[in-house]
Structures are given as structure tokens and as C-alpha cells.
């Protein structure tokens, strides 16, 4: 009997927690976000979160938004769409946040943006770039990143200018890499290049031995990987082990991150990648942001961190423009806004897709990530052709 009553007391306590949510606090503007703190996007998610946090700190030092203090509420989405979905439901209906920032990665953003759309809640998305996110007719998702389908255009144009023809493409089977891959196919066709190899690989694969051997047999001159950090790193290692050689190696996401060079050392030399942002870019506030970030966190910001910070700035500009946090006014402000943040220009089309910001291409040269394309923003001349693995 005793145990039964103990159990029922416990049970009622649990119920009480559910029925009476925590008492709300003093007046402030609450920004909600999910961040990938565990799982396969953990590295990028943490960088992005650091960017958000830095913006929150700075905006409060400037006196907050509309005279109120800004507070960030964030949870770990475990790099999975289902958890992200649940979290945005929580942020909107339980935490009742005033402003929303999107999650990292296109697949989590796909799910999260549907929640935002359901509640008609405008969301500024940093960290998602699959074109499909903006072709579903949603009215509440505003992107900072250049769409994924344009990622490899500069690399392919450069390859063409060097007279290369044979392109090998590998891509991960999730939303964003598939979008990049579609872009590669379209661009290769437009440039009349031959796609001699085109293969998809699993979400968690890190074994590319057979892939590298197959590409080798196709005598590809350009190898393009639509990838994230772990897979691009693994691929480069195995390409070296299996003596896969091409004139150009380019990967999405990975090479743009400091970790890529740190993990691969000499093997990173000459590898190209895409970036949305570099500290050296001639954008007002970019260098300054990079310095403050490095001072605060003890490491250089990559584009994920800058994107997080930029998302905060876009929200700030939109709230100022709307002079309100009313959802409808904010949505309109985000649609009309044309501004420059430390991350670059923000201007979207009627679907909320980013059209104001160009993409950039980087290359690892002498242990440093250098911006090589477009030429007007370049910090170094491209190194071409790729130096063979054994000759370094």
C-alpha cells in the first residue's frame, strides 16, 4: 500500500509539472533556435551557436532590441530532422519565443521550416542551402546562404578554362548534397563537360575505397564531392591511399572549415572547396567580427560562425525596420530587407531564398585556406594542377 501511495504521489508531481509550466520572467525579447550540438553536424552546429551567442551579447551591449534585453533559448537537435521538428514546436508553443533562427543543415531545416510555416512564424535560416527549401511555396523561411545548386559553378568554370573535360561526382544521399549534385550536373552540361562518374553514398559512410578505385578507372580530371566535413576528410585520406589523382579536387563544406586543414595536414594542400564567407572578404564588419570572435573563442571563425552572427544581424535589422516583433510586420520586413551584415549582403526573392550574396571558392595553399574565386575577392592565385600525393 505504501509503495502504491508513493507511486501516486510521484505520478501527480509529474503531472503537475506538465500542467503548470514555469512562470514567465521579466520583459525581454526571446530568440529561439535549435543547434546541432551532438550527432554528425555537431562541429558546424557549435560554431553557428557561438555566432548566435556573440550577436546576443553584442546586441544587449548596444541596448537590446526595441529597448528590451535579448535572450537566446536553444536546444540540441541531435542533427536529426525529427528532433528539430519537436524542438521548434517547443520553442513556438511552449517557450513562446518572439523570434526564430533556423537550425543547421538542410534536412533539419526542411522539418523545422514546416513547423514555422504551420504557425505562420517567420524564421531566419542560417545553415541551410538546399534549393528545395525555398521551392515549396512557404512564406516564413528566409535564407542567408547561397543556394546549394550554385556551389560548384565557379570550380567548373575554372576547370573548363583549363581545358578539362572529365568530371567525377560523388554526393551524400541527403537533401543538401543532392542539391549541390544537381547543380553540378546542370553546370557540367551547360559547359559541355563529360560527367564520367556520378554516384551517391550513404549518410554515414566513411569508406570510399571502392569509389576511389572506380573513379580512377574512369580517368576523371576533376573530382567533385558534394559532402560535409567527415565524409570529405575520409574521402581525401582514401584517395591518397589508393593513389587517385585528378587535376582538381573540390568538396562542399569540408575544405571551408579550419578543421579540414588541421585534420589532413599536407594532404589538404591544393584541395578546393566552397565557402559562404571568409574573414578576408571585403565586407564591412567582416574583419572586425573575425577579430572579436577569435578573441572570444580562441579560434578563427569559419562561415558557419559568421552565418550565425549574420542571422542575428538580419533579425536585428528586420525588427528595426518593422519597429515591432509582430509576425506579419516582421515577415514583410524580412522580405523587403536589403542590408549588409558581417556575413555579406542579405536580399531574398519572394520565396525567401537568398539572391543577394555570391558564393566563393577557397583552396588550401601552404597550410592556409585562401580565397581563389571570384578573382576580385581573391587573396591568392589558384594553384593548378593538383600536386600528386607522393610529391609533397
Amino acid at each position: 500500500m505504501k509503495r502504491q501511495s508513493l507511486l501516486s504521489v510521484l505520478f501527480s508531481l509529474v503531472l503537475a509539472f506538465i500542467i503548470f509550466p514555469a512562470v514567465s520572467q521579466a520583459k525581454e525579447i526571446v530568440v529561439g533556435a535549435s543547434a546541432a550540438l551532438t550527432g554528425k553536424y555537431a562541429r558546424n552546429g557549435q560554431d553557428q551557436l557561438d555566432g548566435f551567442n556573440m550577436w546576443v551579447e553584442e546586441v544587449n551591449a548596444r541596448g537590446g532590441l526595441l529597448g528590451e534585453k535579448v535572450r537566446l533559448v536553444h536546444y540540441d537537435d541531435e542533427s536529426t530532422p525529427a528532433t528539430g521538428q519537436k524542438l521548434y514546436e517547443k520553442l513556438i508553443t511552449d517557450d513562446k519565443v518572439d523570434l526564430l533562427i533556423g537550425p543547421y543543415s538542410s534536412d533539419v531545416a526542411m522539418a523545422a521550416s514546416t513547423v514555422a510555416e504551420k504557425y505562420n512564424f517567420p524564421m531566419v535560416s542560417s545553415g541551410a542551402s538546399a534549393t528545395e527549401i525555398w521551392t515549396r511555396g512557404y512564406k516564413n523561411i528566409f535564407g542567408l546562404y547561397t543556394p546549394g545548386s550554385t556551389y560548384m559553378e565557379q570550380v567548373l568554370e575554372y576547370a573548363k578554362s583549363k581545358g578539362l573535360k572529365r568530371v567525377a561526382l560523388i554526393y551524400q544521399n541527403t537533401a543538401f548534397p543532392r542539391d549541390v549534385a544537381n547543380g553540378v550536373r546542370a553546370k557540367a552540361k551547360a559547359l559541355k563537360m563529360d560527367l564520367v562518374f556520378d554516384e551517391e553514398y550513404g549518410k554515414d559512410s566513411t569508406d570510399f575505397t571502392s569509389t576511389t578505385i572506380k573513379i580512377k578507372s574512369k580517368k576523371a580530371e576533376v573530382v567533385i564531392g558534394a559532402s560535409y566535413l567527415p565524409d570529405s576528410t575520409a574521402f581525401v585520406r582514401q584517395a591518397k591511399e589508393n593513389h587517385l589523382y585528378a587535376k582538381i579536387f573540390a568538396f562542399a563544406v569540408g575544405p571551408a572549415l579550419p578543421d579540414f586543414g588541421a585534420n589532413l595536414g599536407l594532404d589538404a594542400e591544393g584541395i578546393m572547396g566552397n565557402t559562404h564567407w571568409e574573414p578576408t572578404l571585403n565586407i564591412p564588419g567582416a574583419k572586425d567580427f573575425a577579430q572579436r570572435y577569435t578573441k572570444k573563442y580562441g579560434r578563427e571563425p569559419g562561415y558557419h560562425a559568421a552565418g550565425g552572427y549574420g542571422a542575428g544581424q538580419v533579425l536585428e535589422a528586420a525588427v528595426k525596420k518593422a519597429n515591432s516583433i509582430d509576425k506579419d510586420k516582421l515577415r514583410q520586413a524580412l522580405t523587403e530587407l536589403d542590408t549588409v551584415t558581417a556575413f555579406g549582403r542579405y536580399k531574398v526573392d519572394s520565396n525567401g531564398m537568398q539572391i543577394g550574396k555570391p558564393g566563393y571558392t577557397v583552396q588550401w595553399i601552404n597550410g592556409v585556406r585562401q580565397l581563389i574565386l571570384p578573382a576580385k575577392d581573391a587573396t591568392a592565385k589558384p594553384v593548378y594542377p593538383f600536386k600528386d600525393w607522393s610529391k609533397r
Partner: protein
Amino acid sequence: MLNNNRRRVSLGLGFGLMLIAMTAPLYMNAYYQSFLLQLFMMVALAQAWNLISGMTGYVSFGHTAFFGVGAYAGALLLLAGFPWWLAVFKGAGIALLLAVPLGFLTLRLRGPYFAIAMLGLNEVGRIIATLWVDLTRGGDGISLAPKLLPSLHSNYFSMLFLALSATLLVAFIHRRRFGLELRAIREDEEAAEMVGVNTTVNKVMAFMLSALIPGAAGAVYAMYTSYIDPSSVFAPALNIQMIVMVLFGGTGTVWGPILGAGIVMFLREMLWAQFPAAHLAALGVLLLIVVLYLPGGIISLFRARQQRARPDARTGAAP
């Protein structure tokens, strides 16, 4: 007398829980409803797993195959313009039909062979969903627009209905000859056959019933999350969760999976926001303790107490 008592407690408890679940949308915000919805989903899935693996002892590592099939069927039918409830029915139906040939094929295997075959089945499902791009859109996943989706309330009550029917199904079978025969298969399949149990038909029947529920749950899940991709629905991790919850609560019992799902989900919910990653480790340790010291699951705590109480009850009643 005691049996009656237990039955009454069971009924009372069940009725109370149902009352809470039915009225919850009146006073709970959308997030807590979402939480309960996921709890119901896990109860339904755990019961489905319990039905085949708990009762017959055929441990399935691939029940998410049916979940995934249901999710894809539900999402695609919804996109094709079917009303949501019909899409759920059809999703469940497709999973059920699929279970017939698969059951006949895989249930010839015993022990670890069956477990591995089912794990493989889930992988096959995931790979088909990845490669059949024309139908499933492959790794892009399927995104369902809000205007297509049923309301949170509809999803909530659908999942509640699934959890309830899965539980009633297990309870019903438990008391029938069918349930006894299934448990006989678990204890000794040859012996069961010797005494005239048609083991093949029984196993396949149980397998079909246990595929029906994940099929329906998958379809509702797709409509609830609005976005599915091959690795999020053909997810071995989800299958592990079903197993964990059943083991945790008590294998082969009616209340075990409910208890297991309830405890695991509540603990997760309380821990995860504060301790990303660490909460999974904590759950793992807890499970280890339960499996080592309470092989019958949490439910055996209640059982043991009742058994101890039996002699007292008798002497109390005798004079």
C-alpha cells in the same frame, strides 16, 4: 479473488490513464501534446514488438521496416490527394500485406538468424527508399506542406488510438488460446508442435498483427513530422528503442511496454535539454541495471510484491 483484484486494478489504471490522455488536449499546450503523441507512438511500437518478440521469443531487429513502409506509403498517398485517415489505413494495410510473405520467409529462421534477417530487411527498405528516386525522391526526402497535414489534434488522437488498440490487442491475445500457444512457442517450439500447436500459422499471424501497428504509426508519424527521409524512418535506433522499452518494462506482459515507454520517455524529456548526449548514457546505465537485477523488467517489482502479499491475503480471508 486475487486475479480479480489485479484485473480490477488494471482496468481502473487503464481507465484513469485513458481519461487523462483523452482530456489532455484541453489543458496542455501543443508541445506537451507533441510529447504525449510521441509517447503513444512508442507505446504502440513497443506493444507491436512485444506481440511478436515478447510473446513468441522471435527477437526482431527490423520492425522499423514496417514503420518505414507505412511512413512512405502514408506520405505518398497524402501527396497523391488521399484524405489523411485513408492514407493511414492504406499505410497500415500495405505493411500488413508485406508481412505475409516476409513472415513465411523469415520465421523459418530461429534465434539470431531471425534477428539478423529482420535487421537486413530494414536495411533493404532503407536502400529501396534511397534508390527508388522516382517514387520516394531518394535522399531528398519527402516534405509535406502544412496545408496537406491533419491538425495536431487529429494526429494526437490517431496515435492514442494506435497505442490503445495495440495494448488491447496484446491484452486480448494474452488471455486467449492464441496467446498461450505463442508463449508455448517461446518456451519450446518443438514441444509446442508436438502437442498440436500449428506453429507456422501462429507465428505468421502474430507477425502480421505486429506489422500492422508500425505501418499505421509510421503513416501518422510522417504526417506529424512533415518531413521524412530514408534514414529517419528506416531507423535501426528506433527499433532499439522499442526493444529497450519492452525489456525495461517487462517482456511479454501487457503493462510492461507501457511502463517502459512511459519511464524512458519521461526520463529522456527531463534530461535531454540539460544534458545533450549524456542523457543517452544515463539511460544505457539504467537499462543495464534493470536487465541485470530485474530480468523481468520494472513490472516484476509489482509482481513480486503481490506474490509476497498472497499468503497474507489468504490468512486474512480465512477466518
